[in-house]
Every structure is written in structure tokens, then in C-alpha cells.
């Protein structure tokens, strides 16, 4: 992500474009979970908030000032007007910006990094529109609400810096009981991922892993004598007959996915594998779901 750092404006535009066709979280009320901690979505229960929830017949003990006279005037009984309980929550994002993410097998496909940033920012847009507070994990950008935060997020995501071949999730600075989203290819060592998730789970942070893979990484369509190199060049592997490796590679990939799924199951997270060849909206929808549903 060093050479072709996308401009902030372009990233913002991409993300807006992706977010635009999706309904705001508010409109998707039936999906809201009752219990948990997410942002300004209604909690499907009465409480403090701005939005009307329901009229309820007055019972003894209700204060007379709470009675909604306009409603009560249309019938013989007294009614109270209840508001929906609303609360904001913090969501922390971690987007892998390592070299391995900067890969696209085809010119027509975005790099994994680009897809990851777009997804993350789109999610942030939707969350912030929903009133949540969004930030990056670690200490660089703590969660805040408001449109300005989107700009800061986009800037932070586009920062070009020296990066390792494979990234490790940043689990520091997480607020207890907040939510987190890790976007990466998770092709590197799985140790840091385990550590980060365990640490997050310890703090009561739940969230989602979004594994982004290139179609070629999923298919391994190689044959013949080949020298494979990692994006940074730190790892190389030579084979005389790449086609023979396909099955074993795919087995290892499946193993990696299974390990991630296992990890998530133990920590209460969710995992999703997204391919850059697919529509980003599907992944975004899944991320909504992952953040909305309480498990």
C-alpha cells in the first residue's frame, strides 16, 4: 500500500458509493437486537430516547404529567406515550495494511487492501449515520461519532507506511464491551490473531473477522515450474509442478479457515470469507448482520 496510496477523496467517494444503496440502520429496525449495545438503533423497548415507541394504557402509579392527553382524548382510558430506548456504542476497526493485502490477480479486480478499506469505511459510514461511534483499534484514532470522524478514518486508512509482509491484528486500546471488526486476509501467522481475539474477548469485546481473499488465492490456478514469492519478497517457495501443490494448498487454506472459525467460536466472534471477485455489498451486509445480531 506504499506505491499506490489511494487519495483520501477517492476512498471516501468509493465508500459513499458503496454505502449509498444500503438503507440506513434506522430503517432496518426489525433487525435490531433487543439486548445489546449497539448505537442509536432502537432497542425495541421503551426508555430514554427521541423516537416514539408506543402508547400504553396508564396504570396506577404513573405520573399524571406523563399522560398523553391528545391520545387519551380519543377514548375513555388514559394513555401514556413511551419513547424508544436509544444508546450509542463504540465500534473499533482494524484493517490490515500489510503488503500481502496489496494483491490483485487481475487488473479488473481491486486489490484486497482496497476492498478491505472500502468495506471498513462503508461500514463506518453506516454506523456513524446510525449514531454509533467508530474508531480504529490501537491508539491512533479513538472512536467518535459524527461525519468528521469519517474523514479522519479515511485519512487514517490511507496512510502509507512501511509495512510487513503479513499483518497482525491490533487489539490494544479497546473499550470494554465495545465491538470490533478485523479485516484482513489472515494468511500470515495465526498466532497474533489468536492473541488479539483472546485479548478482545477478555475485555468483553465482540465483533467480526472479515477474511478477504483474491479468487486466485482460493483457486490456485497454477501449473508448471514456478517460484512463488510473497508480496514483500520475504518468503519464496519454488516448485517444479505447481499443479500438484493445488490440493495441498487448498487443504491448508481450508485448515486456516477452520482455525479462524474455531477461534471465533471460542471467543464469540463471527467470521466471514469475502473474495474480491464478489460484490462488496454482500460483505457489507454480512458485517451489518454481524454487528447487529447479538449472540
Amino acid at each position: 500500500m506504499s506505491a499506490a496510496a489511494p487519495s483520501v477523496a477517492a476512498l471516501r467517494a468509493d465508500a459513499e458509493g458503496l454505502a449509498a444503496p444500503l438503507p440506513a440502520l434506522m430503517a432496518d429496525a426489525q433487525h435490531l437486537a433487543q439486548t445489546v449495545m449497539l448505537g442509536s438503533h432502537g432497542r425495541r423497548r421503551s426508555g430514554m430516547g427521541d423516537e416514539f415507541w408506543q402508547y400504553r394504557p396508564a396504570v396506577p402509579g404513573d405520573e399524571a404529567r406523563l399522560i398523553d392527553w391528545r391520545r387519551s382524548g380519543r377514548s375513555d382510558a388514559h394513555f401514556l406515550r413511551e419513547k424508544e430506548w436509544q444508546a450509542a456504542q463504540s465500534v473499533l476497526l482494524w484493517v490490515d495494511n500489510s503488503a500481502s493485502m496489496d494483491f490483485a490477480s487481475d487488473k479488473a479486480l481491486p486489490t484486497k487492501a482496497a476492498r478491505a478499506r472500502t468495506l471498513a469505511l462503508a461500514l463506518a459510514i453506516l454506523l456513524i449515520r446510525g449514531g454509533e461511534r467508530v474508531g480504529l483499534s490501537g491508539f491512533s484514532l479513538p472512536p467518535r461519532a459524527g461525519e468528521v470522524q469519517l474523514i479522519r478514518l479515511a485519512e487514517a486508512l490511507c496512510v502509507a507506511q512501511d509495512v510487513p509482509d503479513y499483518g497482525a491484528p491490533e487489539a490494544r486500546g479497546m473499550l470494554p464491551r465495545s465491538r470490533a471488526v478485523f479485516v484482513s486476509d489472515f494468511l500470515g501467522d495465526i498466532g497474533p490473531v489468536t492473541a488479539a481475539l483472546t485479548k478482545a474477548a477478555d475485555r468483553g469485546v465482540r465483533g467480526a473477522l472479515c477474511m478477504i481473499l483474491d479468487p486466485q488465492e482460493e483457486a490456485f490456478p497454477f501449473d508448471g515450474r514456478t517460484i512463488f514469492e510473497s508480496m514483500g519478497g520475504s518468503l519464496t517457495h519454488e516448485t517444479l509442478k505447481a499443479g500438484d501443490l493445488r490440493d495441498r494448498y487448498l487443504a491448508r487454506l481450508a485448515e486456516r479457515k477452520a482455525a479462524l472459525a474455531d477461534l471465533c467460536r471460542t471467543t464469540g466472534w463471527q467470521v466471514h470469507c469475502h473474495h474480491t471477485g464478489e460484490a462488496a455489498a454482500a460483505a457489507l451486509l454480512w458485517l451489518y448482520g454481524a454487528l447487529e445480531h447479538d449472540h
Binding site: G224, R225, E229, M231, L235, T239, L245, R252
Partner: protein, 924 residues
Amino acid sequence: MFTIGALGFTAPWLLLGLAALPILWLLLRAVPPAPIRRRFPGVALLLGLTDDEHQTDKTPWWLLLLRTLAIAALILGFAGPVLNPQVREPGTGPLLVLFDGTWADARDWQRRIDRAGGALDEAGRDGRPVAVVALTDLPVEGPAFRAADAAAADLPGLTPRPWVPEAAEVATWAQTLDGGFDTIWLSDGLEHPWRADLLSALEDRGAVRVFQSPRPIYALRPAAFEDGAIALTLVRAETGAPAELILTAHGRDPNGVERVLAQMPLAFAPGAETAETALSLPPELRNRVTRFEVEGVRSAGAVSLTDDALKRREVALMAGADNREGLRLLSPTHYLSQALDPVADLIDGSLSDILLANPDVLILADVATLSDASAAAVAEWIEAGGLLVRFAGPRLAASDLSRAEEDPLMPVRLRAGGRTVGGAMSWGEPKSLRAFSDTSPFYGLAIPDDVTVSAQVMAQPDPVLADRTIAALSDGTPLVTRKRVGQGQVVLFHVTANAEWSSLPLSGLFVSMLERLAISTRPSRPEAADLAGTIWTPDAVLDGFGAVQEAGNLPGVAGEDLAEARPGPETPPGLYAGEDRRLAVNVADADTVLTPATWPARVPVEGMTVAQETPLKGAILTATLILLALDVLASLWIAGRLSGPRAGAAAAVLMAALVVAPQAGAQDRDPAVEDFALAATTEVVLGHVVTGDAELDRIAAAGLKGISETLYARTSIEPAAPIAVDLETDELAFFPFLYWPITPDQPRPSDEAYAKLNTYLRTGGMILFDTRDADVAGFGASSPEGRKLQELARPLDIPPLEPVPSDHVLTRTFYLLQDFPGRHQSRDVWVEAAPPDAERVEGMPFRNLNDNVTPVVIGGNDWAAAWAVDDAGNRLFPVGRGYAGERQREIALRFGVNLIMHVLTGNYKSDQVHVPALLDRLGQ
């Protein structure tokens, strides 16, 4: 040149390179394919995986084979392979190319010419002088050796002749040979008596090589009439495999059209020399057959012309009432029937029935009286070419027929009673016949001694009697008299048709006389004696290919020569016409046998095939390239580069390497020209010629617009908006009608434009020339416009003109008009002149004038101005004054309507005026 079979190499040493292929094989095996470096994030998952096998280390065998093949093809290609390399004609010095040139050559004449051409080319390259000789067309001297290209110029002029040269001629010519030369002999494949002698004469001069086609040779013997059917016999030279052929009988159908009248299959049994078939046709059809052909064989030998031998004449016999029933030998017609039955078709019946059958000959034996109606019918039939033969007899002698006046059905007047000589009651000996004079059709016939005449009817002495006598007795009294009537003739035998009055019917002379009179059908081949003293002129002759040609002015042939003629330069095969019959001379006669030529073993005999020399270098190098391209593909596939990130690049390289598809030369279509063509042809469009004078062109366009609107409103012609036509650039063929206003200063069209205009006029276009000066000038050169028109029209293909006659079709194509005014009212409007022989038919209001649309109409009435309307439909120019002016404009418009109608419907209205007459004639 090094050759293997039909394959030769121009650079055979390069083939040694093939020995290096095994080394290449080893080298290729030793080198594994180069690795490909790929960036791949998933490498982290690959770490530690090892390859199962090391096969890809070495190139797979099939790729090796592919590459080895490619290299082998490369070596082969550069070694210059040639398929069927031309063998050089051996030898030096002069070369004689000798054709037999007989009818048997015709079956593959072109291949012979090609073969000879090849030999001449070769000789030309070697600088050998060449002589080309055909034995059927021998030069007076020996062969004249010339440069090969000069001799090659003669080749197309050589044709096979429909005869075989005479041995004597060939021997004479062989003696004129001198000097040394090699010979290429293009033999016709048949054994001829002169063949061996000529061969030895040629071998004395140098090497002889013989070329001979293996195609079978057929000859069709003349058709013979046997047992009521036409027997056809086909002979062939090679008695090998069975063969199936089809014979066709050609002739004219009743409409006079030459067509195939019958077809019959013919099969040669294996080993059989001849094949026979019989064709049974109705007499009417059989008499129409003019020749038989073997279908698909192009040679004079495969054509057999038929002459009168095949035609069976239809002879009607009538006798006076037969009152002596049972005495057959005394029957008046017995001897006639006996003589004619084998050679003619006899018809019996009443006279009216007989005449309906239209026989060739009508024989009345001792019939004295015919009813008036019958006599008239017979006379008519004679006029039309019938031959009436009458025999005398007691009845005729007793009647008053042709006594005082010559009867139309009798050649002479008769004296009463006749005479009897040498009988029991008379003096004198029975008379014998006098030799036939040379004007008699019987001239040349030998008269047997035993023919005597004892009774006859006597002719009245008459000035014409001598001319009409064609046979006489020794004392000079006429025995046979003849009178020509119209196209037919009347012949009277002054004796009976039975042996009562003379012994003539008992003799062979009687049959010969009937033959000479063309009563009976001739034997197929007359003897020389039969034809003595006759001259026969060729009617149609066969060429070597068997096509029937006009005889032209070939000289006549004496009968005795013709009777024994073999086909030759003097008597080419064909149809010869004598006085009253025709005789065919055919290539094959009734005992023609074809023997294949035999050559001594020392003479090389080759087939006629000229194998085309085909250089294979290009093809093999192309194959090499394809193999190498396949190798590229295979290598890429082996290296896994056909898939994966860089496959696109590889495919692009492949495409660039393989696709050599020549760009289909898209036709240069000028869209403007196409639009013009579409605009001019999708609807009827009137055109006006662009004169260069903007105002004039505007008026012309407006005028045509006006007349188009008028047509649209009044007629079924619905023209689109008129189009300005530039003579130089635009296609004229789209326009049925061009309006060409003349200005004194308009440019003269180019020659190309004139060519287009002439084509346009010839193919039915019409141009209306308008000098627009009728108000000030009469028609002619009296105005600048008139002079300009003359100048412009001079190169045009314009027929003679005349002022519009009052019955011209232009006066009635839609409106009935007599004036053709525009803005001016001159009556000088000129159109194509009527043909000078156009006559007004009685009762017709109009002459039947020229059949075409007049290509030009020339006048000066400024019609466009009278027709012109602006966009709103208002008239642009005033015509005349007041009501009369409007009337004039109306007439002008009507003239326009008539004119366009004339252009589009031609002389339809001219035809229509005949309808009442036609209906009248049909009786309705």
C-alpha cells in the same frame, strides 16, 4: 535434382541436416523449461510443501516430438521439395512434335495441345528449333523447324480432322524428311496402316517418344434399318472393362428446333469390341432423325449422320377397282407392293384418308377418274411437294382423261386408245427401251435386254413433250413422262404397273427407277454405278470434334467418287445433297473396326497426363511455422502460462503470431454515393441536369417539383422530390427522366459524361432538352441556346428527329393533347422520328409508330418555368394573361403528365388503341 518418387529436391544436401535431429532430441530433453516467478500472497501456506515427482524437469516426449518434427519440416522445406518435378526433355537439336490429328484425337485434344505446349516450352528453354506437324494436315515440304515460341503460336490453330490420313500421303511426306531430329509423337491410339513405316522413318532421324491417351476410343457405325428398327453398332478400340454409354438421336422437332429425339443405353460386355442396340421409333419420329451421337464423347467418330437410307418414305397405293379378284399376279399394284414393301411404308385407304396422312408419294395404278374434290385435293398436295406417280392401263387408255386438254394430274396429253406392238394381233416386235438421256433422272441405269414393252398409252405430240419425257422406247415414243407442278411432280408410266403390258415390272430396272424417282427408299450405301453421273454438294460437314458445321462453299463431289469415298480432305464426313436425296459420309462405315496402336518395345510410350510441377517449399515452411506455433502453445501450457495472471499476454502474443488473416478489403463505399442511389431509387424521382446557373437550376428544381406534385395529385405516379443531377459525378441510370435546360454558357460535359449519357439514352432514359427561347426564336440554330444545344447534343447518340406528329403516343398517354406549351407556345417540339415504313392501318386512328420511348424531346417552351411552384405551392412564374394564360399553364402541366407517363409506360397507349381492332378480330 534428387528425386524420391514424385518428390524432388532442389537442394538435397540440406537433407543431411536430418541426421542432426537425434542430437537435438537429446539437447531438448536435457533442458527443463524455465521457471516462472509469481507474486502470490498465499505462499505462506505453501511453505514446506514439496513436489511429489520431478517429471517436469524434462520436456515431455510429445513436445520433443513436436519440436523435432518442426525442425525436420524446416530442413525439408529449405531443401526445396518439388512435387512432380518436370523431367527435362532429353536430347538436343531439332524437335518434331507430331500430331496424328485424326478424329480419334478429338476426345482429348486440349490435353494433347497442353502436352505439346509443355514440350515446346521446354524446347524453347533449351533453344531447340521445333516443328509442329499434324498428319492430317501435312505440309508440302518436310517439317519446317522454327524457334519454339513461333511454333507455339501455331498450336491453337491446330484442330483434329474428321478423317485418317492416307497411307500414300504419309509415305510421301516421310520421304521428305531429312536431317536429324527427335520426335514427340502424340498418337491417337489407333493402329493405322502407315504407322509402322512412319515410325521407322522417324527413328532413322532420331529418338522417338510417343504419347498416347488411355481414354477409350469409340466409333459409331452408320445406323441401319433392320427388322423395323434402327440398328446401331458402336465399336471401341480397347476391349477391356465393361462400359455403359448412351446414344442419342438428334433431329428437328415439328417446330424446327434441334433437340434430342431419343436416347438409348448401350453397354459393352467385358472384352467385347462392339455393342449393339436397336431403336424402334414411330416413322414420323424416325424420319426426323438427322444424326446419332454417343453422349459425352467429343469426336467425329462418335457421330453418325443419317441420310435418306434411314428415312422410310410413305407411299400410298391406289388402284382402279379390282374386278379380277384372286388373280394376285395380275393385280395392278402387286409388283409395286413387292418392290416397295421392304423399303417404304405403304399406306392403303381411300384417297381422302391418304391425303390426310400426307404421304411422300401417291401411286395411282390405272386410275382414270377422280372426283373433282379429290382431284383438287391431290393437285394441292402436289403443289406442296407431293409426288404423284400414275401407271397406265386399260382403264386409263379407255378414258378421255387428258385427251383434248392436258389434265392437271397428267404430265402429257394422251392419244386415244394407245397402241399394242408385238402382240398376236399386231405387227412388229415388242419394243425395248432406249438408253436414258443425261437429263433423265434414270441416267446411268443399265437397261436389261429382256425389258420389252408390248402395249402402252401414247402421248400426244406436243412442244413440251420432249422435255417431259424421261424414258422412251427405242422408237422414241415416251415411256415415262414427268411434269413438275409447284414443288411436286406428276410422273406417268405409259405402261401398266403389272406385267400385262410390259416386262418392266419384272425387272430390276423397275426397282431402280422407283428408287431414282425417290419413291422407294435407297439401300444405305449406293454403288458407284448407281451414282454415276450425279453431282453431290455437301450440305453439312462434321468437324473433328463431331460438331455439325455449315458446309459453306465446298465443291461438289461426283457421285461415283462419293460412293467409294473414305472420309478425307476431298470428301469430309457430312451430308451430301444430290438431286432429290441426301447421302451421308460418316467417319465409321459399316465394317469399321478399331485396333489399338501397338508400339515396338524400344519406343517409350507415355500417358498424356502433364503432371503439374508443384513446389512444396512454401507449404512445408508454413507447416513448420504452424508446428512451431503449436510448440509455443504447448510450452506455455507446460509452463502453466496459459492460465494465471499472464495468460492474457501469452494469448496476445499467440494471436499476433498466428492470426495472419488478411484484412478483408472492405469495399470502398462512398456513403454519399450510396445515399444518392438510395434517394434516387427508393421512389420515382425526376432529375434535372445541373447547368451551373444557380437561378436556372433553382427554376428547374421548382419546375420538376411542380410537375411532381401535379403527377401525385392526378395520376398513380407518385414521385418524390426531384434531384439535381451532376452529369460528371452522378449515376444516371436511376432516373427515368432528365430535364436539361440549355444556357448559352453552360460547360460542355466531359467525354466520360457523354459516354454515360449515351448509355443512358440507349438503355431507355429520356432527356427533355429545353432551350427556353421559343418566345424569341424558332427552333434551330437561330438563338444562342439553339447553337449551344447543337454543340452539346453533337456527341450524343440521338436518332433522327421529327416534330411531334399528331398521332404520336405523346399526344395521348394520359391527356389528349395536340399542343405542348410551357411558358411559351411554340409548336416546335421534336421527338424521335417514326420509322419510314410506319403506315396507318385501315380503320386505325393512329399509325403503329416506333416501339420505344423517344430518347429525347427537344423544345424551347420553358416548361420548367410553367410548372414551377415554390415551397408553399404557389406558381413562381406567370404564364400568359388571364384565363387563357391559366389554360396554357394547365396544358403545360398536362404535357408534363403525358411526358412522364410516356417515359414510364412506353408505348402502352399505342398498344391500347389497337384493342378495339383486336376485339373485333376475335369476333367479340
